[in-house]
C-alpha cells in the first residue's frame, strides 16, 4: 500500500444529507490520487480525549479548482468522534491522511452491476456509480438496512433501479439481483457485508469493509481480518492496508473478529 499523504485540510463547505454530514476539504496534490472505495483517516481534536483516528469514506474528489484539489468526507454523526468532526465549521483545519486502502476495481468493459451499501459507506458506492455510469455500465443500487440510506436522491439519479429492502427481505432480493448481474460491489460494516457475500453466491463480489477507528498508518493491527490467500493459506491481514476493498470470495466472513486456528502463523503481512 502506498502510504497516504497527511496534511492540514481546510473545510471549504459543510452540508447535511439526511443524518449524514458531508465536509468538502482542501486536498492539494492528493485529490487526483483518490478513487472510489478508498478512505481517509481523520484525527479528532486531542482536547476531545478521543485519541483514535476515524475511518471516513471519500464521497468524491476534484483535482481542479482554486485550492488545487478537494475531497468530500462523509461522516455519520451517530459516533461521537465523527459527530465532533461533523461540527467543523467552514475554515476549520482537520488532520487528514488520504488516500488509504485499495480502491474498487473498475471493469474493463461495460457490464451489469449490483451496488449494495449500508450507512456512510454507501458514499463510496455512489462515487463508484458515477464512474460506472460514465463507462456505460448498468447497475442497481441497494440501500441495506439497518442504517438510514445515504444519498437516496443521488442513487435514484444514477442507477437504473434503487431498492431499500427491509432486513427480512434483503437476502432474497440481493440473491436475485446478484444472480442476474456480472459483478457485485458492496460497502459497509462486516456484519452487513457477510450477508451480501452469502447472497452474491458465485457472482464476483468486491467488498469495502468499514472498520471505524484506525491508526491511519497501518501500525496498530487492530483491524485484522482472516483472508484466504490465492495460495490457499489463510492469513490475518490489516483491513486498512490490505483492504478496505477485498475480493469477498477470499474473506472468511463467518470468522470476522476471531483468529481462526490455522491462521496462527499468519501475522499481519
Amino acid at each position: 500500500m502506498t502510504p497516504g499523504a497527511q496534511w492540514r485540510a481546510k473545510v471549504l463547505a459543510r452540508r447535511r444529507s439526511g443524518r449524514y454530514t458531508v465536509l468538502t476539504v482542501t486536498a492539494p496534490g492528493v485529490a487526483d490520487r483518490c478513487r472510489p472505495g478508498q478512505f481517509a483517516s481523520v484525527a479528532v481534536a486531542p482536547d476531545s480525549g478521543l485519541l483514535l483516528r476515524r475511518q471516513v469514506w471519500l464521497g468524491a474528489s476534484s483535482a481542479s479548482g482554486r485550492d488545487g484539489g478537494a475531497l468530500e468526507l462523509v461522516l455519520d454523526p451517530a459516533e461521537p468522534g465523527a459527530a465532533r468532526l461533523a461540527d467543523s465549521d467552514k475554515g476549520a483545519l482537520l488532520d487528514v491522511i488520504a488516500p488509504l486502502g485499495r480502491p474498487f476495481s473498475l471493469p474493463r468493459e461495460p457490464l451489469a452491476a449490483v451496488l449494495a451499501g449500508s450507512g456512510s459507506a454507501a458514499a463510496a458506492l455512489l462515487w463508484l456509480a458515477a464512474a460506472l455510469g460514465a463507462q456505460g455500465s448498468r447497475f442497481t443500487f441497494v440501500h441495506l438496512p439497518p442504517a438510514e440510506p445515504y444519498g437516496p436522491l443521488d442513487a435514484r439519479r444514477l442507477a437504473a433501479d434503487v431498492w431499500a429492502p427491509a432486513a427480512a427481505e434483503a437476502d432474497t432480493l440481493l440473491a436475485g439481483l446478484a444472480a442476474a448481474a456480472d459483478v457485485v460491489y458492496s460497502a459497509g460494516p462486516g456484519t452487513v457485508l457477510a450477508g451480501v457475500a452469502a447472497a452474491a453466491g458465485a457472482t464476483p463480489h468486491q467488498a469495502a469493509l468499514q472498520t471505524g477507528l484506525v491508526c491511519g498508518a497501518a501500525t496498530c493491527t487492530a483491524c485484522v481480518i482472516p483472508v484466504r490467500g490465492r495460495d490457499g493459506v489463510s492469513r490475518m491481514v490489516r483491513a486498512c492496508a490490505d483492504g478496505a476493498v477485498f475480493n469477498a470470495d477470499l474473506v472468511r466472513w463467518d470468522e470476522l473478529g476471531t483468529i481462526p486456528p490455522e491462521c496462527h502463523d499468519g501475522a499481519p503481512a
Binding site: Q6, L51, T219, C220, T221, T258, A267
Partner: protein
C-alpha cells in the same frame, strides 16, 4: 540533543515506544525512524503469534486500552526480515522481548544475540495477569543470553515498582523503562469492550501515574538510566518526564493518533525554554 542510555549513544532523547511503529517502515513516511533516538520494536516472541481476538483497541477518556495480544512473526522471522529492514532505515533499534516463561525469554535473547543491529534489549515484563511471575528470573535469563555491550532494560508497570525494579537491577538490568500500559478492563453497557477482556491502558490518562513512577525510581536509583513513557503527546509532556528524572522518553499512543507526532514533539521539545510554565 544526544543522550547516553546505559552506554549506547542516542542521537535524540525521544524514542518510539514498543509496539507503536508497526513493523517499522509503516511509520517511516511520517517521521523518519532515524530521527528518533531509537525505535523500540513490538515485543518479539519465540514463536509466531497471531495476536488476540477483536476488538483489540478501544478508546477510554484521554486514553486507549489495547489487547493486541503481541502479534508478530516470531524471533526467527524477525531476525531475518524485520530487523534488517528496520536497521536499513538508519534507526537505532531496541528490541522488546516477551515470553511465557523465563526460558522462553532466554531463547529469544539467544537468537537475537546472533543478529546484527540490536542496540539494546527491552524486557517486556507485562503479563495478562498483570506482571510476569518472576521478573528477576526473566531479567537474569535475558541478561546472561545477551552480549555484554548490549544494555538490558526492564520495562515495568507501576505496581510494586521499587521492589520489582530493585530485583530487576539486582538480576542484571542496566536500566528501567517506565511505565508499561496499566492493566484495565474497559466495558460497554452490555459486557467487555475488548475481545481479550483485559487490556493495557495508555495515553494521557496515565501520565501522572507514569511521572510518579519515573520520579520515584529516580529518587531510589539516582544513577540508573530510565526511559519514561506514558501519554506523551507534546514537547512539554516530554519535558515533564525529563524533569521527573527520565534519561530519555518514549512516545507511543501519540503515534496512533498522529503518525507525524514524533517530529512535532522533537521540535516542540527543542523550542522549549528552560522553564516550562505548564509543568504540573
Amino acid at each position: 540533543m544526544t543522550v547516553d542510555l546505559a552506554g549506547i549513544p542516542l542521537s535524540h532523547e525521544v524514542l518510539v515506544a514498543s509496539g507503536c511503529a508497526g513493523t517499522g517502515p509503516d511509520l517511516q513516511p511520517y517521521t523518519p525512524l532515524a530521527d528518533f533516538g531509537a525505535v523500540v520494536t513490538r515485543s518479539i516472541t519465540l514463536a509466531p503469534r497471531p495476536g488476540g481476538p477483536l476488538p483489540r483497541l478501544v478508546e477510554s477518556p484521554s486514553g486507549l486500552v489495547n489487547a493486541l495480544g503481541l502479534p508478530g512473526p516470531g524471533v526467527e522471522e524477525f531476525a531475518l526480515r524485520e530487523l534488517p529492514d528496520l536497521c536499513a532505515t538508519g534507526a537505532t533499534v531496541i528490541v522488546s522481548v516477551w515470553g511465557e516463561t523465563p526460558a522462553e525469554y532466554a531463547k529469544v535473547a539467544q537468537r537475537l544475540r546472533q543478529a546484527d543491529g540490536v542496540a539494546a534489549v527491552e524486557v517486556n515484563l507485562s503479563h495478562p495477569s498483570g506482571a510476569a511471575p518472576d521478573p528477576a528470573a526473566v531479567v537474569h535469563q535475558v541478561r546472561r543470553n545477551t552480549a555484554a555491550g548490549v544494555p538490558v532494560l526492564a520495562k515495568l508497570g507501576p505496581e510494586a515498582l521499587l521492589a520489582t525494579a530493585r530485583a530487576c537491577l539486582g538480576a542484571g538490568a542496566d536500566g528501567l523503562s517506565l511505565v508499561n500500559a496499566i492493566p484495565a478492563v474497559p466495558m460497554t453497557t452490555t459486557g467487555p469492550a475488548l475481545g481479550a477482556v483485559v487490556g493495557g491502558l495508555s495515553g494521557p490518562a496515565i501520565t501522572p501515574i507514569a511521572l510518579r513512577a519515573v520520579w520515584q525510581a529516580r529518587q531510589a536509583f539516582p544513577d540508573v538510566p530510565i526511559v519514561g513513557s506514558g501519554g506523551i503527546l507534546t514537547g512539554p509532556d516530554a519535558a515533564r518526564f525529563l524533569a521527573a528524572g527520565a534519561t530519555a522518553v518514549a512516545v507511543g499512543t501519540a503515534l496512533l493518533h498522529d503518525p507525524s507526532a514524533g517530529r512535532r514533539i522533537m521540535t516542540e521539545l527543542a523550542d522549549l525554554s528552560a522553564t516550562d510554565p505548564g509543568a504540573p
